[in-house]
Amino acid sequence: MKLPLSWLREFVQIDAPAREIADRLSAAGLVVENIEQVEPAFQGVVVAHVIEAGRHPNADRLSLCQVDAGSKGHFSVVCGAPNVHSGMKAALALVGARLAGADKGQHGDGVPRLENVPPLEAAVIRGVRSEGMLCSERELMLSTEHAGILELPADAPVGTDLADFLMLPDTVLDVEITPNRGDCLSIIGLAREVAAIFGLELNIPRPRRVRGKAASEALPRFSVEIAAPDLCPRYAALAMTRVKIGPSPILIRRRLELCGMRALNNVVDATNYVMIEMGQPLHAFDLEKISGGAIIVRRADGDREFTTLDNVRRELQSNDLLITDQQKPLAIAGVMGGLNSEVSDSTTTILLESAYFEPDTIARTSRRLQLHSEASYRFARGIDRAGQATALARVAELIASSAKARTAGELVDIEARPAPAREITFDLSVVETLTGASLAPAETRRRLNAIGARTRPAGRGMLTVVPPPWRGDLNEPADLAEEVVRLGGLDDIPSGLPPRTSTRAVANPARVFFKNTREIMLGAGLDEVRTLAFTAPADNQRFSGIAQGVEPVKVENPLSMELSELRLSLLPGLTAALRFNLNRQAAAFHAFEIGKVFMTRDGGAAESLVLSAISYGPYLIAEIGHKGIDGGFFSLKGILQSWADAMNIGSRLAFRTASPSEVPFLHPARAAEVVLDDERVGYIGELHPGEAMRLELNAPCAVTELDLAKFISYGFAPRETIELPPRFPAIRRDAALVLERDLPADSVIKAVREVAPPVLESVEVFDVYEGQGIAPGRKSVALACRYRAKDRTLTDEEVNRLHSAVVEHTLKRLGAELRQ
């Protein structure tokens, strides 16, 4: 909402500088986003009286005018405007004046700085000397109007500086109005705030009363019927005749422009002017186009479409509120009028509407139609519930003056549903109970009165408060407490710390889990990344995530096709980040993300938390004398295992060969499912060569994704019992077994475990070999078995005996032989 201070000062006498007004409005909840200094684009221009506009002796198209500029003197001026005429008041640029708009068009769009504009000189035009210039609005940069010169009101004082007359320079505050403050979408509303904040008097002139009896001419007849009182409790209307459509006075046009509205004609401008001034949206119909002169406020019901005055055909729903006549819709109530009843240049009789429409219905319709007008904006936020007749009187007063029109007949004001009485019983102590501010009761009451509430004592420390009709947002004591502290900019509230005993905080196990997981992943050399939850359908098809057979969630109103679904997996984001970095010369990318994935469940959407990682390129960087390690399946698997070990669930985590159909995006021969306690919780593998090619990768890229739900519930559990370090030495025995190539190493361990004696402390695969010396299709697996007893030192013979039994069983079980 734009607030020109000159306009504000019509209602409240405030001398404070703009910055202070802005700061205190901001502190009270009306943030001033910008302070604009509006300077006149001219100097040396005065109000002048054209005494005589005669013909130029040497040019038919030019006039030679005798102009009186009061104390500035008498001048003879040549003028080319067609509208110049004797007796008019006009803007005279004196010799020496500067006009930033004088040569607009020659300098392109830029506005020259006034001091750079050459001063106006007396000129000889077709042999006649011209001592100054009568200006168009464009030359004064008041508008783009250049068809004729600016005609000033007849009562404009001759000789006055034009900038002063137009109240330029001005300062315009740009105030951000929160949705609860519909009342502040008006100059008077903001003036009330300023008066309340600064403790000043608010002075709102009453508009002249509408006088029913005009001349003896026949009065236009009209009627008003409210058929939907639930949506429109009040509707006021007034007819005016002998309207002469034309441009509005310069002051009105100027102010509309400062407030960001375009001037149209003296009727429409007047309705807009009053809307901005008082916050009441108004509409003017061409009365002759209203069939039978009957205004009916009703639901659209059977009406299916309507063409609004922006010439767009709008689809209606049965619940939309319309203004109609006996035959057709005239307007979508509170949103926009129709083309069929618009005021045109030939209009002579108008019907002015000033109504209260329920915010909810206007908000719903304007949102559905994506049609947001200044009127619907205000109605949706709630306007003054009782201001309709006053606004109508005010606009009639303006139109009477600007369009030389007369009111015809009485003002019709129908209240189909009276406003419910609103009384709040207000315990003054609530202010302190809620906010901690201790204000004197008198001050509390003063502040409530200042915002327009009526208050009366209701017993000890109690007030009965009637909120003003323009404050639909005030409904309970907390609302009033806010008003009281808000006007003081919240400075009355002391700063204190809460009693410590009121709560007992417990560390959140999930957060501990995240922290530790992050710590381990960072320690393993993975960067943490964060990617968007939105993805393209193609990405969801490609990277289908951990769960199988789930459908992705489609966003109903996506930003773009590329972001039209919620991700099933973090891989689209991680692979995109990989590509992003490779494109910027990164040689490696090792990263993880903890994030949410989404899937369709029961027709709705469900979410789950996953950990995902990607590893590509050199992992341990090769240094002088040291070999590096490349990221790949085993380094990433190792990271997962270290992580699980740290959580004390390493032994419960298993890796099984994955079937390609489960993870089609992984290399079919290099993919595993990750299993926790026999439950599939994720996958790990190298990207499918096809994917790698699509991503233009030239080395293996390992990825993993784990469903974290299970892991979080385990947390980082400490061991249940702590064992003492072994007291007796261990004895190691190795064995190299030659077996079928496709048999996983895991099955060797399992076979060993089947007959493991209690003293077999651990068994590990420490080497796998294929090639020379080994038959094709077979491989050698080297095992390290470690034997240890808790209570004694084992003898070599004992261990040898046990070990050969273990090996023998394993060979038999797997159809293997000992490597020679």
């Binding site: 009270a28 992050r518 710590e519 979410e607 992992y619």
Partner: protein, 348 residues
């Protein structure tokens, strides 16, 4: 025999001079002290010595043995030191060559800032609760006092999902979710992802993080004064010494509502283009929980009251890190990420 012994001693000590080589020392050791060395030979010949002299000779043998041993010991020590010195010099490394680095990742700056905020808040007695991103209208709007069609809903352009679901537009749903499960007194912070229909740009993103906090207790125990105190402390810990101010504002779910500003981190209150010459930067929104919110979770506003606040993590991170492009947080450029610490926690 005595002379013989004296001769052995003299010869041995003469050979065991300060600059004796290892070889010489070893030769002397073998010749004098060895199994068939000179002293052993003497001891073997003891039975030829007169019994009365035996102890004297024996003592002399032992003395010489100890003396030579000590001398050899000393020389060997010396030789070892020399040897070590030589080998050290030959093992010289170029210490300026790079070490073998253990890889270490970097925490994402948004995580770092979020964890830092949570650490401060937890230190002030708040506990962390995680709540869901996929929400229904009730928990994201209606229970938070956003009536249907209310223009306040337009402040948060929502992503809608099938089945009447939506992506939460703020973490304020945490208030409702937690209060449906737990009763006051409570001091809770809910961090997490939020979604609004904004294109990814320098200033906005379709997905971002917020931290919602709230503290509720019996009526009168937790007031707006405590809200001021808690958030002032938070701002000072998080931003360092700065001036703060509270302004009136509007949120459907708080009454009174306020916004917290701190001194603009760029100009320290002097006024600059970034703060639109006001000298202040908005940090977070807050207020006393609206009675309708309490009613929505079946708490009687005559019995309970509390405050709530919410802040954007990315926005605050931009401020604190002094960068001006939100997209940096979403690109995951390792040259950007690499500038952040390798530890997950905040500064404490």
């Amino acid at each position: 025999m005595k002379d013989q012994l004296e001769e052995i001693r003299r010869r041995a000590l003469a050979e065991l001079g300060d600059d004796a080589e290892a070889e010489v020392v070893e030769n002397v050791r073998v010749r004098v002290l060895g199994r068939s060395g000179e002293l052993t030979e003497i001891m073997r010949g003891m039975r030829d010595v007169a019994p009365a002299e035996r102890p004297i000779i024996g003592k002399l043998v032992n003395d010489i043995k100890r003396e030579v041993e000590a001398r050899i010991e000393a020389l060997q020590e010396h030789l070892r030191a020399r040897q070590l010195e030589r080998s050290l010099a030959s093992a010289r490394l170029d210490v300026t060559l790079p070490g073998v680095r253990i890889p270490r990742g970097h925490v994402h700056p948004v995580t770092r800032i979020m964890e830092e905020m949570l650490d401060i808040l937890c230190g002030m007695g708040f506990e962390v609760e995680y709540t869901q991103d996929v929400e229904d209208d009730f928990h994201n709007f209606a229970a938070l006092n956003f009536p249907p069609n209310h223009p306040a809903r337009d402040m948060q352009d929502t992503f809608f999902l099938p089945g009447g679901m939506l992506l939460r537009t703020h973490t304020s749903n945490g208030q409702i979710r937690v209060l449906e499960r737990r009763r006051p007194p409570l001091a809770v912070v809910c961090p997490g992802g939020c979604y609004r229909r904004d294109d990814l740009s320098v200033r906005a993103a379709p997905a971002f993080n917020q931290i919602e906090g709230f503290m509720i207790d019996r009526r009168g125990r937790i007031t707006m004064s405590h809200l001021k105190g808690v958030l002032t402390e938070f701002a000072k810990e998080f931003f360092g010494e700065t001036r703060v101010r509270f302004r009136g504002s509007f949120f459907p779910f708080t009454e009174p509502s306020a916004e917290l500003d701190i001194y603009c981190l760029l100009c320290s209150g002097a006024g600059c283009a970034v703060c639109k010459y006001s000298g202040w930067t908005e940090v977070l929104g807050c207020g006393m929980i609206h009675p309708n919110v309490l009613r929505a979770v079946k708490l009687d506003p005559n019995e309970y009251q509390g405050f709530a606040f919410g802040m954007g993590v990315e926005r605050t991170a931009l401020m604190k890190l002094g960068i001006d492009d939100l997209r940096l947080f979403y690109e995951n450029d390792v040259r950007f990420l690499g500038q952040f610490p390798s530890v997950a926690g905040g500064s404490r």
